[in-house]
Amino acid sequence: MTTNAIALMLLSLASTIIDRALKIREAAGQSKEWTADEEQTFDDQLKSAREGTLPHWKVEPDAP
């Protein structure tokens, strides 16, 4: 693996960390029950994961 590839991986990782941290902070900052709209948004996201619509949630066969 080249240095450039490692650097790209590192950048990708850093971006993911920041993105997740912001989302988690947003989720935990709310001290009230969800509204119907908030429930619907989350449930739609969960449905996508359950049905494998989100590509990274789909179980793929192991490479031979």
């Binding site: 993105d19 997740r20 988690i24 935990a28 900052g29 709310q30 001290s31 009230k32 969960l46 994961a49």
Partner: protein
């Protein structure tokens, strides 16, 4: 190279788990709006935080699968197990949360607390993966 990759993964997972733990603990005593249930608020936060953590791990695993398979095939197996189990468990937590919101009986509270524990355990599994990844590369 393997050590570097393992360090990246460990860092990401540890940071994710650490952030969620700190936030969940720090908001555990936060004021809940009048009329709202602390248990419901916690259940909804847990659903979202667990989903976000697992979603991030699965996205990273898919994006770097080739490199990770060289480290250990167990990482993909663990990720696939999460892909199957997590949506079902979080869905069950959502159903239990809605049931308790509409009818706050002791029985519904027990069911909700049970699914809350199951989903908490899923988040903890992401932390265990960190240790496993580190152990492989020691």
């Amino acid at each position: 190279m393997k050590r570097t990759l393992a360090l990246f993964i460990a860092l990401w997972l540890a940071l994710g788990a650490g952030i969620s733990t700190v936030i969940v603990q720090s908001t555990g005593c936060a004021m809940v709006q009048p009329g709202n249930s602390a248990l419901v608020v916690r259940a909804e936060q847990t659903a979202k935080i667990s989903f976000t953590l697992i979603d991030g791990f699965l996205a990273y695993e898919k994006a770097h699968r080739d490199e990770l398979l060289k480290l250990s095939p167990d990482i993909k197996k663990s990720a696939d197990a999460l892909r199957v189990e997590a949506p079902k468990a979080i869905e069950a937590l959502r159903v239990a949360t809605k049931a308790y919101k509409s009818n706050r009986t002791p029985a519904n509270e027990v069911t909700l607390s049970t699914w809350l524990a199951v989903v908490d355990a899923l988040s903890a599994r992401v932390g265990e993966l960190t240790l496993k990844t580190k152990a492989i590369n020691v």
